[in-house]
């Protein structure tokens, strides 16, 4: 029998507000344990939460970008469970009335656009962390670090609209792009600022009803999500074909073993005893505020891609690559400011820069070659000061040292030789020394031409202007 998968994703994204959701503590990642805490976020007796308005603004931005309907009134609720990283032993979250609902995200899969539904987006507080070792030292018992407690967390729940792990991957990539464009989250899965749980079930193709789902947790990369889903779908199909009954459960992905393992069944699931948070008043989003946020929404990748095609006359492919990531698109636009050949800039960014960055495992924002320096390099090529080939050498040096291109050219003596007299002199020498090749060329072996050209370039350490060499060489050989 042929099966298809039904996948829905729950994404948790930390909002990059300066302070926590219910107190004034910093949200900075990586501080010494328990240094970014106060009576409120560590749940001292008698404290009360006060909502950070910026967190609401960020979640509304996200809601609008994801085509969600923002509820005029939303409410916080207490989600109750005991765990040492949760100081109050309840998490302030949202339950019946989230910030927004009923949105969608269009994603590209195999060249086709697929619209994936978004059920709801809600706001909650993050929990702390348990430490079982300090540095490499194992400790007796567990330590609690509450720096992360109260960092604003946005939960984006998708509809079960995905059918393949690839679609899930595409959804996550597209969602990350939106969050980065909005500048509301760092989206760093390794630091935990973005987390993803997947609900997955299988059903025979053609069947309308959903199968029994498993919730898969503990993936720490988008590829990990894709792999975990691939594994889990296979597992469920095999189990079904072996006549087993799939049970509703939570399963953990083990990235080393590349397998999922059962963590708890539905029967063991918590009863969270949600009820409306009495310490907070409902969040009221007035039309005026919503309109202001809408007005101030930045251009998102799709719009930017269209604009790049129109404004810079870039091919669809280039525009797609350059706008997939906000920081790359910004780099491109800074490079072509006042520069007449955007396609050349696009080529250099896509081919050279991204490859080098990738090899060095760096973000474009960490590039030592600034957009201005890259533009200078392109201008040196355009002016004929250096050849495109030499430019690659200059580029490599710039990538390592961050020096200006002129300086690299000067230091390495890489200025292009375009003087016809000087080039003619070198050609004479080459032709004299390679009489055999000249003969061959004259006998009709055109390949000999390339050899002679190569010899000239070699003699000038690649600095001779290839156009000029070509011209004179042809003249001399006739």
């Amino acid at each position: 029998m042929n099966y298809e998968a039904v996948i829905g994703l729950e994404v948790h994204a930390q909002l990059k507000t300066k302070s926590k959701i219910f107190c004034g503590c910093s949200t900075q990642f990586g501080a010494e344990p328990n240094t970014q805490t106060c009576p409120v976020c560590i749940g001292m007796p008698g404290v009360l939460p006060v909502l950070n308005k910026t967190a609401i603004e960020y979640i509304i931005k996200t809601s609008l970008a994801l085509n969600c309907r923002v509820n005029p009134m939303s409410r916080f609720a207490r989600k109750q469970y005991f765990y040492p990283d949760l100081p109050k032993n309840y998490q302030i979250s949202q339950y019946e009335q989230p910030v927004s609902e009923h949105g969608y995200l269009d994603v590209q899969v195999d060249g086709n656009t697929k619209r994936l539904g978004i059920t709801r987006i809600h706001l909650e507080e993050d929990a702390g962390k348990l430490l079982h070792e300090v540095g490499s030292r194992q400790i007796d018992g567990s330590y609690v670090d509450l720096n992360r407690t109260g960092v604003p967390l946005m939960e984006i729940v998708s509809e079960p609209d995905m059918r393949t792990p690839q679609e899930a991957y595409a959804y996550l990539t597209a969602l990350k792009s939106v969050l980065e464009y909005l500048d509301v989250s760092d989206c760093n899965m390794e630091e935990g600022s973005l987390r993803c749980d997947a609900n997955v079930s299988i059903r025979p193709i053609g069947q309308k009803e959903f199968g029994t789902k498993a919730e898969v947790k503990n993936m720490n990369s988008f590829k990990g999500v894709q792999k975990a889903l691939e594994y889990e779908i296979e597992r469920q199909i095999k189990a079904t074909e072996d006549g087993e009954r799939i049970v509703q459960e939570t399963r953990l992905w083990d990235a080393d073993k590349e397998m999922t393992f059962s963590m708890r069944s539905k029967e063991e699931a918590h009863d969270y005893r949600y009820f409306p948070e009495p310490d907070l008043v409902p969040v009221v989003v007035e039309e005026k505020w919503l309109a202001e946020i809408k007005q101030a929404l930045p251009e998102l990748s799709e719009q930017k891609k269209e604009r790049f095609i129109k404004e810079y006359h870039l091919p669809d492919y280039d525009a797609g690559v350059l706008t997939a990531d906000r920081t790359i698109s910004e780099y491109f636009e800074n490079t072509v400011k006042g520069y007449a050949n955007p396609k050349a800039a696009s080529n250099w960014i896509m081919v050279e820069l991204l490859a080098q960055l990738n090899a060095a495992n760096k973000n474009i924002t960490e590039s030592l070659i600034t957009p201005v320096h890259l533009r200078m390099l392109l201008e040196l090529i355009d002016k004929g000061t250096i050849s495109g080939k030499i430019a690659k050498t200059v580029f490599e040096e710039m990538f390592i040292s961050g020096k200006m291109p002129e300086i690299v050219v000067k230091e390495k003596g890489l200025v292009q030789i375009s003087d016809e007299g000087a080039i003619a002199k070198v050609i004479e020498e080459v032709l004299t020394a390679n009489a055999k090749s000249v003969e061959e060329y004259k006998a009709g072996k055109t390949a000999a031409m390339n050899f002679l050209l190569g010899q000239v370039m070699k003699k000038t350490q690649g600095k001779a202007n290839p156009g000029v060499v070509n011209k004179i060489l042809k003249e001399k050989l006739i």
């Binding site: 009576p39 001292m44 009495p278």
Partner: protein, 486 residues
């Protein structure tokens, strides 16, 4: 008269006029504490050393002619569920018996701005759950009028301290009657302000949507003065309401002409305590004589108040008290093998039986499958109860009832019967559910010389109306001048 026996407004005059110093007043109060505290046991913690430091600093300020607050130099007692930095805050529970506050409640900062002197933290029912102060981990508090009876609760320590002149004034908290019922039992004035009028930041939560801090004082004028100090919008409390607080002493006028007072028939039922009924009816007659128009009204959902309260308050409490787990602070069981056992033993050993009962009630009411039938239903009925009051206040300015069904009962009389104990708050709970303000003041004595309380309610943020009625009554009676013999 001894300094400790005076009211805050009398002492304030004397301190301002430099007839006495804050240190003299503080000395007098601590002498009184030395004399009667062994019998009354109103306090969990005394802050003697710090109190004298404060008094000295305030005296110097006055001497130097610096501006001081209206209640400068007055010693005040604080219920032990409000955070005062550096002092223990136990909530009269074993689980917080070693907890020292790392921060100040907003009301503490406000009282500091008034240059008040903190005498100590007063005893209470554990986590404010009770009507007799018998559930305290640190032992009972005794009613100064009769040491064999309860002082009321949960703010029994605060009420007893004021009644016994062990404090000039005190703060209590009221979730279902915890200021008014002990005020009634101890023959003093207690006000539960409108929900949102006084900041809850730093008040250890029992039931967040019902809790409110308020004054316990020797007379109505002191109540108004203390309200002037603590009624303020607080941005640290999202449920605090941003309405400017008036000068409550301006409502201390005797004239009640044209004021309409409602008497809800549901609060005067067959079988009620005869002495209580008689005193309250006489008080109503006196108000009428002062110019008030008395009207019978109905609050038809009164009979559901107790049931609604005992679903909503424990529900909120079950979440509010979840944080006491031995992980971060407070009592932790000495011998647990793993995390689950640490939770279970810490909470099993740290909480008393009444607190456990309410945590279980609330946990049950919020459980999947029961939520709609209990919590949600109770919320709906709460709205009906609120509507009752809204409707009533379209016709009357104030409502007058007894504060409690009886005068203070004997110690141990109701400890084995929680339902009987819960009935002590039958007349006070509706006010918390509706969020309106209400005050209890003495309106007579039983033949055994136990005080009887009169309750005056008004609509949201109409504390001024309450003060007007209370002051007019007080000016024509002497009940508040009576003192227990200790």
């Amino acid at each position: 008269m001894e300094l400790f026996a005076m009211t805050a407004h009398e002492l304030s005059e004397k301190i301002k006029n430099k007839e006495v110093t804050s240190q003299e007043v503080t000395t007098s109060v601590f002498q009184r504490i030395d004399a009667v505290e062994p019998k009354v046991k109103a306090y969990v913690t005394l802050l003697k050393e710090n109190a004298f430091k404060q008094a000295e600093a305030i005296d110097q300020k006055i001497k130097a002619g610096e501006p001081t607050g209206a209640l400068a130099g007055i010693p005040i007692a604080i219920k032990d569920n409000m955070n005062l930095k550096g002092a223990k805050c136990t909530c009269s529970s074993k689980i917080l018996s070693n907890f020292i506050s790392p921060y100040n409640a907003t009301i503490i900062d406000l009282l500091k701005k008034q240059d008040m002197v903190f005498i100590g933290k007063t005893n209470m029912d554990e986590f404010a759950m009770g009507s007799s102060t018998e559930t305290s981990y640190f032992g009972k508090t005794y009613n100064p009028w009769n040491l064999e009876t309860i002082p009321g609760g949960s703010s029994g320590g605060s009420a007893a301290s004021v009644s016994a002149d062990e404090a000039i004034m005190a703060l209590g908290s009221d979730t279902g009657g915890s200021i008014r019922q002990p005020a009634s039992c101890c023959g003093i004035v207690g006000l539960k302000p409108t929900y949102g009028r006084v900041s809850r930041f730093g008040l250890v939560a029992f039931a967040s949507s019902l809790d409110q801090i308020g004054p316990l004082t020797k007379d109505v004028q002191d109540s108004a003065l203390l309200m002037n100090a603590i009624a303020a919008y607080d941005q640290n409390d999202s449920t605090s309401v941003n309405i400017p607080a008036p000068d409550y002493t301006k409502s201390l006028v005797k004239d009640l002409t044209g004021l309409k007072i409602g008497i809800p028939k549901e609060y005067f039922v067959a079988g009620m305590d005869k002495e209580v009924e008689q005193s309250v009816r006489e008080a109503i007659k006196l108000l009428e004589k002062q110019g008030a128009k008395i009207m019978e009204i109905s609050l038809p959902h009164t009979e559901y108040c107790l049931a609604v309260y005992y679903i909503l308050a424990p529900s909120e409490a079950s979440a509010n008290l979840a944080r006491y787990d031995g992980v971060k602070y407070g009592y932790r069981t000495p011998d647990a093998k793993d995390l689950l056992e640490q939770y279970e033993k810490t909470r099993g050993e740290g909480f008393g039986p009444e607190v456990k009962r309410r945590i279980m009630l609330g946990t049950y009411a919020l459980s999947s499958g029961y939520y709609d039938a209990y919590y949600l239903k109770a919320q709906k009925v709460r709205t009906l109860i609120k509507n009752d009051f809204e409707e009533a206040f379209k016709h009357v300015d104030a409502i007058v009832t007894p504060t409690a069904p009886t005068a203070a009962f004997k110690i141990g009389e109701k400890t084995d019967n929680p339902l009987q104990m819960y009935l002590s708050d039958i007349f006070t709970i509706s006010v918390n559910l509706a969020g309106i303000p209400a005050l209890s003041m003495p309106c007579g004595f039983t033949k055994n010389r136990m005080p009887i309380g009169l309750q005056i309610m008004a609509k949201h943020f109409a504390e001024e109306t309450i003060f007007k009625v209370a002051y007019a009554y007080e000016q024509n009676t002497d009940w508040h001048k009576e003192k227990p013999k200790l």
